[in-house]
């Protein structure tokens, strides 16, 4: 290597020429204080920025309006219909068309479809919310401990998570529900789904915590004498929770689909409980003769799932500065 040359200012051989010395007129800007604080700049942190991004997007307002409406219907279905979903079914109305007071017509059994849809929302959302409570609780506990403490704690918890993750949660729920056939309720279904759906949350949180826990601000707090557990609660978790929120929104949609799938397969809700999945199951035989009885509950299911998935995707984009920059 010819690297040991003395560093001397380099001059091009032969053509020694004058380089003009140019000085720009100095403006007030350059005599500004170095690193001057400009407090008029707009405020910004992760959540503020995300909110600013979300509120400018029409799909956010559409999906959140849909979700609010769904929750309202699920809580108070009787406010929207006088017909009970289940016990005013007359076979004379079988697959009947729209009539006054029954805007969507009737099922094969002669039940009012509109009313069944409204009451079905309660089941779907109840399962959805119970499942995410369960998965978020389990996922955060497992993910936080394995990510933050690492070492053998991580190895044990992660392997455990792998085991649950290796059984696709709908299949697991099918097994549980086909054995639990006498105990069908919103609770048992939610448990069957949630018990195997949490590892996704745990994995996301774990990797996020891995990223955050080595930040200098964590070290600074350790150097201050803050206890490990407090650091986890006060600094690490708040900074790694954003992706958990995203995956929770998405898994709510997943839980709604799972419940509908189980009911569709006949191992979900009993026939006495309204469920879109049940209705789809009942109507599938009449695809040719009465497609509308199949289409209405399918559409309701689609709308609910779409609302939560859109919200989840939007929140994901909003919470990720990198994704925001990509737009």
């Amino acid at each position: 290597m010819s690297s040991e040359t003395e560093p001397t200012p380099r001059v091009t051989p032969g053509t020694r020429r004058e380089i003009p010395h140019f000085v720009a007129a100095s403006t007030s800007e350059e005599s500004f204080g170095i690193d001057a604080v400009r407090v008029t700049e707009r405020r910004s942190n992760l959540w503020l920025d995300a909110w600013r991004d979300l509120k400018g997007r029409p799909l956010f307002w559409i999906s959140s309006t849909m979700i609010v409406a769904l929750i309202f219907v699920a809580l108070f279905p009787w406010l929207f219909t006088d017909t009970p979903p289940n016990n005013e079914c007359f076979l004379s109305n079988s697959n009947g068309p729209t009539t006054a007071g029954h805007p969507l017509g009737f099922t094969k059994q002669g039940c009012d479809i509109y009313s069944r849809l409204l009451y079905g929302a309660s089941t779907s959302l109840a399962v959805g919310f119970i499942v995410i409570t369960l998965t978020t609780f389990l996922g955060v506990v497992f993910g936080a401990f394995s990510g933050f403490y690492g070492g053998w704690v991580d190895s044990v918890l992660s392997r455990l998570g792998d085991i649950f993750f290796s059984i696709p949660y709908i299949l697991a729920a099918v097994v549980i529900m086909s054995v639990l056939s006498q105990y069908r309720s919103v609770w048992s279904i939610s448990l069957a789904i949630g018990l195997f759906a949490w590892p996704a949350t745990a994995r996301v949180l774990r990797s996020e915590i891995f990223r955050v826990k080595n930040a200098d601000f964590v070290m600074a707090s350790t150097a201050l004498g803050m206890s490990r557990f407090k650091i986890l609660l006060k600094h690490v978790l708040p900074n790694s929770i954003a992706p958990v929120i995203v995956i929770t929104t998405l898994s709510l949609a997943g839980a709604i689909v799972a419940e509908a799938s189980l009911s569709f397969l006949g191992v979900g809700m009993g026939s006495d409980i309204m469920s879109w999945g049940n209705d789809i199951n009942q109507a599938q035989t009449y695809l040719r003769t009465a497609p509308l009885t199949l289409i209405y509950p399918s559409a309701a299911l689609f709308i609910a799932v779409f609302a939560f998935i859109s919200l989840g995707e939007l929140v994901r984009d909003a919470l990720d500065p990198k994704a925001r920059a990509q737009r």
Binding site: T12, T15, V23, E41, S221, L224, G225
Partner: protein
């Protein structure tokens, strides 16, 4: 921002001799945003003759890299050239079609990027990526020829056993080696112009020097003109005949290097020259003598903390007995690394290190990456357990301290870390951050904490209304001030500054260094200043320990080390400081 201003028109320097190789004329580059176009370059003009060298100097955000990217039409993201021309060999690059500019890149203009870690594609072998450059520019055709040319280019760039390493992937190369590969790629097609965008700022100084020397030889030999972009004024002056100083998208001064250094005319350049650590030779004096006299006396505010704290155990008036603030004896730290086949390797990160730091003084711990200097900091801060050896903080041996005693000890010693983006919790506002030490140590009530935060903000020269802001709203320098304020909240005796100013621009860096010196004088602080930058050491430290591979190779006063280095390694480090050899009449 306004567009062209009349005075910028005169900026196009008129060069009397010959046809320029590169001529940038009144170049404007903007990035569209919600609030309209943000101008990154606002009328920049410069000229480079064939075989000449120009260094563009500026701090982050000055537009120096944007100019480099704009010349080869590779602006990131949504960046747009909104006006002006880039004449290369008489042809306007901004008006070219995509295929035309593709044929200029590589062949006409080579490019060496900044960060060797991210500029090679991790999924392709180094040979593949080199051959690609050779083939695309028609240097050679046919598998064998291409391979031979690629090997040659790598060898020229100073890569030993290039032929064997062709099959290896970038992650198997060190940073310096990757930079050599990138330089080889930039020069593979023997371009007339090489743009080097901070080619060595991610590397250690000694590696930087070797690589720049080599780059210089290569371009000199082939007569390649060099456009060199750097934040380091000393480096720029040392490596180029012509300097261009940029500030906020404009050129504020340009001309012959020596002349600008000796006689900067623009106020901004004057400040830059004054602040450049590589050119300064004196310690920042913030009424240092005064500090020696009264520095050990806790200030009024400190006494108030003591009054309101339940901890009566705190030693008042430390240092009366003359024990050193930090005494480290035979400190060793061995890390176990899981090796290949289940076996363990041991890495001695800190190897039998001993030193003392007297109260109220600054000790600098200098070393390149992997020297173990940061591990020493973590050991001192009790963030890692030592393998063997002793640490005494303010006369108190830290070995076998109970939980409670360790907790007390922590309030006497606080760190400030390197990364201004990582050292503050982004979700807590400045008040919470600065008050956190008080909360953890249960010092004072709500009102007292509020006052203390205001007082601390004032001490680090930040306005009080910043308290409700979040770290994301502050600049790097401001965040580092907040980190200093947090470190001072408990009135510690010792502050451990782990590369605390390394990530900052020179002017901001100078400012923080002065602040630190003032605080030391005012509060009688003891600093352990950990850095890779020997140049900064001269500005802040009293004594220096030079570390290499876990060991202290030299320990002396700053003057001794700079004027009369005892070991070869220290001499090497000193020689590698950019601009060290420049004779200045300052």
């Amino acid at each position: 921002m306004t567009a062209t201003e009349p005075l910028e028109k005169s900026a196009s320097a008129v060069v009397p001799l010959g046809q320029p190789l590169l001529e940038v004329r009144d170049l404007h580059v903007g990035f569209p945003s919600q609030d309209g176009m943000v101008m990154a370059l606002d009328g920049v003009s410069m000229t480079l003759m064939p075989g000449g060298t120009v260094a563009v100097v500026g701090e982050s955000g000055s537009g120096k890299s944007t100019m480099a990217h704009a010349i080869i039409n590779l602006l990131p993201g949504s960046g747009l050239i909104t006006g002006g021309q880039v004449l290369f060999d008489g042809r306007d690059l901004t008006a070219m079609s995509r295929t035309e500019i593709e044929s200029v890149r590589g062949r006409g203009i080579g490019f060496v990027p900044q960060d060797p870690m991210s500029n090679l594609n991790p999924v392709w072998s180094v040979g593949f990526q080199m051959e690609e450059a050779v083939r695309a520019n028609g240097v050679a055709t046919g598998r064998k020829n291409v391979k031979r040319e690629a090997t040659k280019a790598l060898e020229l760039a100073g890569l030993k056993d290039a032929e064997k390493r062709l099959k290896q992937f970038p992650h198997q190369f060190s940073g310096g080696m990757r930079q050599r590969v990138l330089i080889g790629m930039g020069l593979a097609a023997r371009p007339k112009l090489l743009i080097a965008d901070e080619p060595t700022s991610a590397l250690d100084v000694t590696v930087q020097k070797v690589i720049l020397d080599h780059l210089e030889t290569m371009t000199k030999d082939s007569g390649t003109a060099l456009l060199f972009i750097t934040h380091d004024l000393g480096l720029a002056a040392e490596r180029a005949e012509q300097l261009v100083v940029m500030y906020r998208g404009r050129i504020v001064e340009s001309g012959p290097s020596e002349e600008i250094l000796a006689n900067p005319r623009h106020p901004y350049t004057q400040r830059l020259v004054a602040a450049a650590p590589s050119l300064a030779s004196r310690r920042i004096q913030a009424s240092h003598a005064k500090a020696k006299v009264e520095g050990t006396e806790p200030s009024l505010a400190a006494r108030e903390v003591l009054k309101t704290t339940p901890r009566a155990t705190r030693k008042t008036a430390p240092g009366v007995d003359g024990t050193p603030a930090i005494a480290v004896d035979n400190l060793t730290k061995v890390f176990r690394i899981r090796g290949g086949r289940g076996e363990s390797k041991y890495l001695k990160a800190v190897d039998d290190v001993s030193f003392t730091v007297e109260r109220g003084t600054t000790m600098a711990l200098v070393g390149e990456s992997g020297s173990g200097k940061s591990t020493v900091a973590k050991l001192l801060l009790q963030l890692e357990d030592s393998t063997s050896g002793n640490i005494a903080i303010a006369g108190q041996d830290t070995a076998g301290l109970g939980r409670r005693a360790l907790f007390e000890l922590r309030s006497t010693m606080q760190p400030v870390f390197q990364d201004p983006y990582g050292s503050l919790d982004p979700l807590r506002n400045i008040r919470h951050t600065i008050a956190e030490p008080l909360v953890i140590h249960k010092a004072g009530d709500q009102e007292f904490r509020r006052q203390r935060v205001t007082e601390l903000l004032e001490q680090v020269a930040l306005p009080a209304n910043l308290a409700t802001r979040y770290p994301g709203e502050l600049s790097g320098g401001q965040r580092q001030r907040v980190a200093v304020a947090r470190a001072l909240a408990l009135k510690p005796e010792i502050v451990i500054l782990d590369e605390a100013v390394s990530a900052l621009d020179v002017l901001v860096q100078g400012q923080i260094l002065s602040l630190l010196a003032e605080l030391q004088a005012e509060l009688g602080l003891t600093y352990l200043f950990i850095t890779h930058d020997l140049a900064v050491v001269r500005m802040i430290a009293d004594r220096v320990c030079v570390m290499r591979q876990g060991q202290i190779v030299e320990a002396a006063t700053v003057d001794e080390v700079f004027d009369n280095p005892k070991t070869e390694y220290t001499r090497e480090l000193l020689a590698a400081i950019p601009g060290a050899k420049l004779k200045l009449t300052a």
